[in-house]
């Protein structure tokens, strides 16, 4: 039996007609490619220190060098790897938790739904920062120890993993609310009734009939969660809780860069290039999210 997927015809075609969306996708593709291929291309190693400290941008060092003489271009590319991974995986964690929570809450309904939504409201009323900081302190050492047992070479990535989990776990609330709202409307429709009359299990109805209908909303929201997680990570870097040196994320590069901005001797490139890379990426993601929403919105005109 096929499920009627509520998706306006030609959504993809409409997306391709949107010039802003096309440019956003091109920019994202370039940044992702640079991040993926960065280690293979003949750039400087992001951790290699040279005697040229705080050198201005030149042909040898395209974006200049930092306080320790490391090539900023390579550091921005490494920052892209870390920030994109954290943003993407963090958003995926929030998607998994939020969708599962919203599906169950909306589908079961009644008192369970009420209790689950009250819990979300309580979490909304606690500043999210407490949860992140406490989670980082609680699990960081344990996770590092665990990873050390599996493979000592991966310990450097434990911070990235903890950030993904923590940021994902605070960003799921809105996703849960949106999914629940959609499920509440969908479960009253005929095809759900029909599936139930055919004797299908609840799990099957949830996964095979309701979930495919949520794809549009969820994809749009996912696209908009990635920039949010990247911004959250940069805020943690500002607090000194994010990625540690010698690893770099855009947040940590910006956080270092803002310290050297002064009118006497400005190493402007340390702020400008990471800021440009980050805002270009977030800008593209936001544009793409908006364009997706327009393309999937059945009421969209033109």
């Amino acid at each position: 039996m096929s499920t009627p997927v509520v998706q306006p015809p030609g959504a993809f075609r409409r997306l391709l007609k949107n010039r802003a969306a096309i440019s956003a996708m091109v920019v994202l593709a370039v940044i992702v490619l640079l991040a993926l291929l960065g280690p293979l291309l003949p750039f400087y190693s992001p951790e290699l220190t040279t005697p040229q400290k705080n050198a201005a941008p030149s042909l040898t060092h395209l974006f200049g060098t930092d306080l320790n003489g490391r090539d900023l271009f390579s550091r921005v590319i490494q920052g892209a790897q870390v920030s994109l991974i954290v943003g993407l995986c963090g958003a995926l964690v929030s998607f998994l938790v939020g969708t599962a929570y919203g599906l169950v809450s909306g589908y079961v309904g009644g008192r369970v739904d009420n209790a689950m939504m009250r819990f979300v409201e309580v979490l909304y009323s606690i500043p999210r920062l407490i949860i992140v900081i406490v989670a980082i302190f609680t699990f960081e050492k344990r996770l590092a120890a665990l990873i050390n047992e599996i493979n000592p070479d991966w310990v450097a990535y434990s911070k990235v993993i903890i950030l993904i989990l923590c940021l994902g776990l605070i960003e799921w609330l809105s996703m849960a609310r949106i999914v629940r709202g959609q499920v509440l409307a969908l479960k009253e429709q005929q095809f759900v009734l029909a599936a139930r009359a055919l004797g299908q299990s609840h799990a099957r109805i949830l996964l095979r009939h309701l979930l495919p209908n949520l794809v549009g909303v969820v994809v749009v929201y996912l696209t908009l969660t990635i920039p949010q997680v990247i911004l959250d990570e940069s805020f943690l870097s500002f607090l000194g809780l994010g990625i540690n040196d010698p690893q770099a994320s855009w947040g940590s590069l910006l956080s270092d860069g803002k310290n050297v901005i002064n009118p006497v001797k400005s190493y402007w490139w340390l702020l400008v290039f990471p800021a440009a890379a980050m805002s270009l990426t977030l800008l593209s993601l936001n544009f793409l999210g908006d364009a997706l929403r327009d393309a999937l919105d059945p009421r969209a005109k033109r």
Binding site: V122, Y124, S125, P127, I130, I133, L254, P263, L282, N286
Partner: protein, 324 residues
């Protein structure tokens, strides 16, 4: 209406109770104790002694009950957030700060909340006025260069963290042009840069919200009716359309106000302001449960009150909505 407000105030107490207890337990469960961070002389006996002194001994539920003031504390009083009969403490008793031991949390909040509230209030004003204005401007001139430029700027503003825009604005307006002070607390001019920096991303967000909702409203029947009965363009937009178009913005302003009024750590660090945000983050880092729960209590109260105001404003703006 009256019943609605009463029910909301009861809900406030419930939310407050749950949120504060949750924060309390979370912070007590986290590794590290407020008494052994950065203190070399803290032996286990010393820590135990201090825990008894501050009512942080025995199990976490019992500690939390004593903090809320629903259980007798070690000095034989009921003293806490909900109830206090201790003549030495005020009501609500937020207890002593654990990091700065000569100060009570009540004093700290009384000192820092006004600073944060003034900056937050000003940036809330800037964000809503500028955001609504820019958003409706973009909607009225949709698909022109003005619309695209406004929306591009708005997107850019939400893509850069405030800890970058802050120092850049300081560099330009304070150090190069010398128009505004670099930071610190004193005089109206010193409020401008922090408020604008703080408002930046929210101006953008509100402008986008307003644009979308304005475009939707301009298509509705009552706007066509207003046009048809011969009202001027200005009157149709500002008296009829805008009133309904700002509804999504109003509901966004509720939680935003609670967040802005209780202070932003980034703004306070960049502009060296004595606000609440810095104390709040430090309280989490130093496991200062009393200061942290006190700040959460203030935040929650503001959040619920702001949401109540939003609901009442909704009804005033859109006569089709009735509160039950």
């Amino acid at each position: 209406m009256f019943g609605f407000i009463v029910r909301r105030i009861i809900a406030l107490f419930l939310v407050l109770l749950i949120a504060v207890s949750f924060t309390f337990c979370l912070l007590r469960l986290a590794p590290g104790s407020p008494f052994n961070l950065n203190e070399k002389q803290s032996t286990p006996e010393n820590i135990a002694k201090q825990e008894v002194l501050y009512d942080l001994d025995r199990g976490i539920p019992s500690q939390c009950a004593r903090y809320l003031g629903i259980k007798e504390n070690n000095r034989g009083y009921y003293s806490g957030l909900l109830f206090s009969n201790d003549p030495a403490a005020g009501f609500p008793d937020f207890h002593r700060c654990l990091k700065y031991k000569d100060r009570t949390v009540n004093e700290l909040i009384a000192d820092t909340l006004p600073v944060s509230a003034i900056i937050g209030g000003l940036s809330l004003l800037i964000a809503s006025v500028a955001g609504i204005w820019l958003g409706s401007l973009a909607a009225l001139r949709k698909h022109t260069w003005m619309d695209s430029a406004t929306m591009l700027t708005a997107m850019l503003a939400v893509s850069i963290p405030t800890f970058v825009t802050g120092p850049v604005l300081v560099l330009v307006f304070a150090l190069w042009l010398g128009w505004l002070p670099v930071g610190g607390w004193g005089g109206f001019l010193s409020l401008l840069l922090p408020s604008i920096t703080l408002a930046g991303p929210f101006i953008a967000y509100i402008a986008r919200l307003t644009r979308t909702s304005m475009l939707e409203v301009l298509d509705q029947d009552f706007v066509r009716t207003a046009h048809a009965k011969g009202l001027g363009e200005r009157r149709v937009i500002y008296r009829h359309a805008l009133k309904v178009a700002v509804l999504p913005v109003v509901s966004f302003l509720g939680p935003l106000a609670a967040g802005l009024l209780t202070g932003s750590l980034v703004i306070e660090r960049v502009f060296s302001l004595p606000g609440m945000g810095d104390f709040f983050v430090n309280s989490v880092l130093s496991r200062d449960v009393f200061l942290c729960c006190g700040s959460v209590a203030v935040y929650c109260t503001l959040l619920v009150v702001m949401n109540l105001i939003v609901d009442i404003a909704y009804q005033m703006l859109d006569p089709r909505i009735r509160l039950e």
